[in-house]
């Protein structure tokens, strides 16, 4: 029965848009493709009735739309890129800030942006992300670690530097 199958959709929309925006790196495209994905889902004949399955299904639809968008722009890469070396044990995270993270995400490879968006923005567990991407759990674990190292490296080489607020003057 299809009456309430989409009841969780409104609550999912912000994270779907954020997820799409992180992958395609373009807010307007993200909104368009989420809208398209919603239209597809509403027209679908078979809709998962389990809430977690529904959530994964919606993200999968958006992901496919995002990949199509990247393909149209010839930006897709199915190969996980090499990660620049970053010494996590010596990393100065003073430059990790909203702005530098945004800039860093923008230059990451789509595969790295995707896993970060799934785990950190969409809030999927490793097992859920593994199922969504069709990968083993262990691959998700290593992929998110490499993606974060890549993001830290991107922040490290960014020309943007966070200025600390000064008080008492």
């Amino acid at each position: 029965m299809a009456r309430d199958l989409h009841s969780s959709l409104p609550a999912l929309l912000p994270r779907l848009v954020a997820f799409a925006r992180t992958i395609v790196n373009n807010p307007e495209s993200a909104r368009d493709l989420v809208q398209e994905a919603v239209a597809r889902s509403l027209a679908a004949r078979r809709v998962p009735d389990d809430p977690s399955a529904y959530r994964a299904w919606m993200f999968r639809i958006v992901r496919n739309a995002a990949i199509d968008e990247l393909r149209r722009n010839r930006l897709e890469s199915t190969i996980e890129p090499m990660v620049p070396a970053v010494d996590l044990w010596r990393y100065d995270d003073a430059h990790v800030a909203k702005l530098t993270v945004e800039q860093g995400l923008a230059v990451l490879a789509p595969a790295h942006r995707e896993i970060i968006a799934l785990i950190d923005i969409a809030g999927f567990s490793y097992a859920e992300a593994a199922e969504l991407l069709g990968l083993p759990d262990g691959t998700i674990m290593s992929r998110i670690a490499r993606a974060r190292e890549a993001l830290l490296a991107a922040i490290d080489v960014s020309t943007i530097r966070v200025l600390k607020a000064r008080h008492g003057h």
Partner: protein
Amino acid sequence: MATDRTRQDDVLRLNALVDGELSAAEQAALAARLAVDRDLARAHATLANLKAHVLASAEAELAPPLPPMAKHSRLRPMLGWAAAAAVVACIGIYGATTAFAPSEDTMAEFPHTVVSLAALPSNPVVPDLGVAGLKLSGIAMESPGGVATIVANYRGPHGCRLELRVRQTGTAIPTAGGTSRWSWTVGELAYDLTAYGMPAARFAAVASAAEHATRDRGKPEDSRRLREASVRSGPCLG
């Protein structure tokens, strides 16, 4: 000195820790090491900091701001944009958006403006059909046949188009073209929804939901109706 392999394992564990993926026993073991290993603790703090800022980077989408109200607008702030999250919102159009409620200065430059929203009974509603994939693409005040009419246009992702006309009951306006039409009245207001290229079954479902929205002024159940209406029908291929 830790080997590279050990460090790689630690990187994975630290990531899993910030993601809440470790078992209680694994967490306890790692916490014990974090308490005595300054480098490990620093790495953990970096990853936790990074995760928090990634989430912060998405805050614009996760908490979309409401659009600012025009200074001179008399429009009630009921078009909840919030993507399609505010699924069926209403525009109370006694008053208008800036598109048809120009400031006094602007009015002085356009003295030929002959249509006023005051010509309409209060509280017309323009439903948000975003959940059905139909974006409100334009809204204007027109006077076809000399009748003050609100004209709202919606567009779908595949070229589908809907036009909603709202006027006072008892008035007549030239018939719009289109492939399907749905008309209803609410109090002193007459609504005409016209489709261009939308499959009839889907249009009937969407129009029915839109009618409910204008009657109920965007209650939560309207959004459900709209979603259900779309689920029952095919995609817009117009």
